[in-house]
């Protein structure tokens, strides 16, 4: 039907529609794909990393071993130096190296340097050991294996010749020397250190790179590094010496062992350098050789607690201040004035912390700001490092005649005492004016906060307060655990009692028998008593009672309901028909007679039954167990 109705125009329409649909779909897909292919914005950090030359870890790993120097005199020191062209972290170096017993081998420095080679950086790791010999001879450290990049690498053997006496013509091994301006210092005291490298043969000097001060508990100030080459007499030799200077700050008290290490870098200087005097600088490609120094001991003492002065902010050394400069000494209430203070010292000024503004209520004092940077000042007394701090102050009342003094103190390590260097008050004239409401509010809030924060020793307690019998907490006393035994035993007793009670509830016959045994014992004692007294009636009554009591637990009846036959049934067969049975019958008959007959018979013969009765009662008692 539908095809019959389809006209040619309709057919063309539907074809166009289909064409538009497919073209549209393709356009959408193409645009989407094009969008997907748009490269992402490059990450600048990644770009920077990619521009760096890669580290070469694919070259064959090689190892070089030397003794520096290879010939030493007895008592001299040589460096056993192993260089591997691999990244330091990939080398699994043994803790101990096998060496002849005449040699003492101590671990030294370890360092890694990256040398540019074409488009890559070649890593080289050097490991030093210090070797001394106990006697002369030729000694060999044999070859051994280390793991590099997870594979075994053989470190070849190396030979050291030890002469009985040092040969003055033999080449001297290159090494570093570490010098400290102080070997006894205080925590936080800046100490200047010098790393020196004398020139090699022919007075040729080279630069040092990657200089490190090794040791725990010190902070090395990299910003105060200075390098220079200076001609001086050092270690008995005169010639140029490369000097690297820095400042360290010990952070912990105790004995600190410090050493220095660095790579030689030929004529490639890192940073600015001063050359004083004549020096021959080595040319050609630099040889990156790791050098290190002997350890130097630094004894660090904590700062004394006694004599601490207000305003101490950690400054150690010798400081001076210039008279403080006020921008103006005529001002109005609410006007800001700047107080500039210059601190001077012959040592390091960078580590000084300016004193905090004083807590006063009639001045608003802002925290100090550094004016410029550290300065080098020449005075008649010599060269000083100096730094300027400025305090902005706003007077809040007009009765002020001077700026507030700012407490400051420092520790003098030579005198081992704290010194007061309070910034003095400067005279001002404050005219009447109006401090802004904001400034007043800030000042009041600051004053209130300062007063709140300032701790004071409390007054005495007016009364004893909480009483304690013993300062030692109870759980630390042995008696406490003893006391715990009370409830423990109490609860345990209750538990046992309950268990027992429940048991008897399930087995009541045990209790019945026990009671019967007790009652039987009572009756037997009465029986014995009456027999001794010759009371025949009482004897017969007790005997019957005893027989009933002993027999009752075997019947669901009260003792007084039992008759002679019941008792006889409990006896063993021979006894039933023998004299015991007869005795029982006789006793019950007598009691019936006594109870129901108006003229009871004679009871005298009953006492003669006692032996039989005892046998019967023994047997019955046995059955009760």
């Amino acid at each position: 039907m539908s095809s019959a109705r389809r006209s040619p125009a309709n057919c063309v329409d539907s074809r166009w529609r289909a064409l538009f649909f497919w073209v549209g779909l393709m356009v959408v897909l193409t645009v989407d794909r094009l969008q997907a292919q748009t490269p992402p914005q490059p990450d600048p950090l990644m770009q920077l990393m990619l521009t760096q030359p890669s580290i070469d870890v694919s070259t064959n790993v090689e190892v070089r071993v030397v003794f520096d120097p290879p010939v030493i005199g007895l008592g001299e020191k040589s460096t056993y130096r192993v260089t591997i062209n691999a990244v330091s972290d990939s080398i699994k170096w043994p803790d101990d190296i096998y060496a002849p017993m005449e040699l003492t081998v101590r671990p030294g420095a370890r360092g890694q340097i990256l040398q540019p080679a074409l488009d890559k950086l070649k890593p080289a790791t050097t490991i030093n050991h210090h070797v001394t010999a106990a006697k002369a001879g030729v000694f060999t450290i044999p070859e051994f294996r280390v793991k590099v990049y997870g594979r075994n690498l053989t470190v070849p053997a190396a030979q050291l010749e030890v002469l009985p006496q040092a040969d003055p013509r033999a080449p001297v091994g290159q090494r570093l020397y570490l010098e400290l301006t102080e070997t006894n210092a205080f925590c936080g005291q800046p100490i200047r250190v010098r790393v020196l490298m004398p020139s090699a043969a022919g007075n040729a000097i080279q630069a040092l790179t990657q200089v490190q001060i090794n040791g725990d508990g010190v902070l090395v100030d990299q910003t105060s590094v200075r390098q220079r080459i200076q001609a001086l007499e050092f270690q008995g030799r005169s010639g140029p010496v490369f000097i690297y200077e820095s400042v360290i700050t010990p952070l912990v008290a105790g004995r600190l062992d410090l050493s220095a290490q660095a790579f030689t870098s030929g004529n490639q200087f890192a940073g600015a350098i001063t050359i004083q005097g004549q020096a021959t600088i080595m040319g050609g490609q630099p040889q990156y050789v790791l050098l290190d120094s002997d350890a130097v001991r630094l004894n660090v003492a904590p700062l004394p607690r006694a004599g601490l002065l207000p305003g101490f902010s950690g400054a150690i050394g010798r400081y001076e201040i210039d008279p403080p400069q006020l921008s103006t000494n005529r001002l109005r209430v609410g006007d800001a004035v700047k107080l500039v203070v210059t601190f001077r010292t012959a040592g390091e000024i960078k580590r000084i912390n300016a004193p905090a503004p004083p807590a006063v209520t009639n001045w608003q004092v802002f925290p100090p700001e550094v004016e410029g940077g550290p300065l080098l000042m020449a005075t008649a007394a010599g060269l000083f490092s100096a730094i300027k701090y400025s305090y902005t102050m706003i007077p809040l009342t007009n009765d002020m005649q001077a700026t507030p003094a700012i407490p400051f103190s420092y520790f003098d390590p030579d005198a081992k005492a704290y010194r007061d260097l309070t910034i003095p008050a400067v005279a001002v004239r404050v005219a009447a004016g109006v401090a802004t409401a904001e400034a007043q509010a800030i000042a009041q809030a600051a004053a209130a906060q300062t007063n709140d924060q300032r701790l004071k020793l409390s007054g005495l307690a007016t009364g004893p307060g909480v009483l304690t019998t013993n300062l030692k907490p109870p759980q630390l006393r042995g008696s406490f655990w003893g006391w715990q035994l009370g409830p423990l035993f109490g609860f345990a007793a209750l538990w046992f009692w309950d268990r027992r009670r429940r048991f008897y509830e399930q087995h009541p016959e045990i209790l019945v028998r026990r009671r019967a045994r007790r009652a039987l014992r009572r009756e037997r004692s009465v029986l014995t008593k009456t027999a001794q007294q010759g009371d025949a009636v009482g004897f017969a009554r007790s005997a019957v009672m005893a027989l009933r009591v002993a027999g009752a637990p075997h019947f669901p009846a009260l003792p007084r309901a039992l008759v002679g036959r019941d008792i006889i049934e409990l006896l063993e067969l021979p006894m039933r028909e023998g004299r015991p049975g007869a005795a029982v019958r006789q006793l019950f008959a007598m009691m019936d007679d006594a109870q129901f007959n108006l003229t009871p018979g004679e009871f005298g013969a009953v006492l003669a039954l006692q032996p039989e009765l005892d046998r019967i009662l023994d047997q019955l008692e046995e059955r009760l167990r």
Partner: protein, 247 residues
């Protein structure tokens, strides 16, 4: 019956005697306390220390310990003062004065506060003696509600189970604080200024460092007349006489 009355009479007499003795002791302690306060006010801190120390010996109290600490501080004995305040705070953590004085002393003498674990901090929320009472009280309370209904054949109820859960819950909650009290007992303070902290427990041993009076430490081990203590930074041996523990 006669003997029963006789026993009651004797017990009453003994009780009265004990009460009288206790009251006398309290009165003596109270007398020392007021005399100590007067001596402190007059500036005679040495006498104040003696009187407050006697007060603490007779009947220890948070107030007497606090005042003893104040007197020791005025005499320039920061370590003894800190120990007294620590004890006062342990006896009554709700009183702010001892806490304030400790902060004050540590700020003035440039001393560090002991490095406390979270258990030890929790132990300081209540008087040290309370934690033991809470632990054993809640434990036996739970045990009682677990055991007694069965023994006395009470009808089982949700209330009993809730009581057991409550008791056990409190017991488990106070266990860390009890542990904190126990570990806090290992804390102490250096009594003598410049006390050497040695490598080994001998007088000839090399000192690692020197400790200031009032410096906190934690006793790790004891050997002879030496204690191995752990300070915030290092470990070493000090003489027992130079180190005072809080408890």
């Amino acid at each position: 019956m006669k003997s029963l009355w006789k026993n009651i009479w004797s017990a009453g007499l003994v009780l009265l005697g004990l009460l009288w003795l206790g009251g006398r002791g309290m009165a003596a302690g109270s007398d020392d306390f007021s005399r100590g306060s007067a001596a402190y006010a007059a500036g005679d801190y040495g006498l104040a220390v003696e009187l407050f120390a006697a007060c603490v010996t007779n009947q220890s109290s948070a107030g007497a310990l606090q005042n003893l600490g104040n007197s020791q501080w005025q005499l320039g004995r920061p370590a003894e003062a800190i120990i007294a305040w620590e004890r006062s705070r342990s006896a009554d953590p709700f009183a702010a004065a001892a806490e304030n004085n400790l902060r004050f002393a540590r700020e003035v003498a440039q001393l560090e506060a002991p490095d406390l674990t979270w258990c030890e901090i929790a132990a300081g929320w209540l008087p040290a003696t309370w934690w033991a009472g809470l632990a054993c009280g809640s434990f036996w309370f739970a045990v009682a509600f677990l055991l007694l209904p069965g023994v006395f054949r009470w009808r089982r109820s949700a209330g009993q189970q809730a009581a057991v859960a409550l008791g056990l819950g409190i017991f488990l909650l106070v266990l860390p604080a009890n542990y904190g009290v126990w570990t806090r007992a290992q804390l102490g303070f250096v009594l003598v200024a410049e006390t050497p902290l040695r490598f080994t427990p001998t007088a000839a041993a090399e000192p690692v460092t020197k400790l200031a009076a009032g410096e906190p430490g934690r006793v790790v081990r004891k050997r002879g007349k030496y204690l191995l203590i752990q300070t915030r930074r290092t470990q070493g041996w000090v003489e027992r006489s130079a180190f005072g523990q809080s408890f």
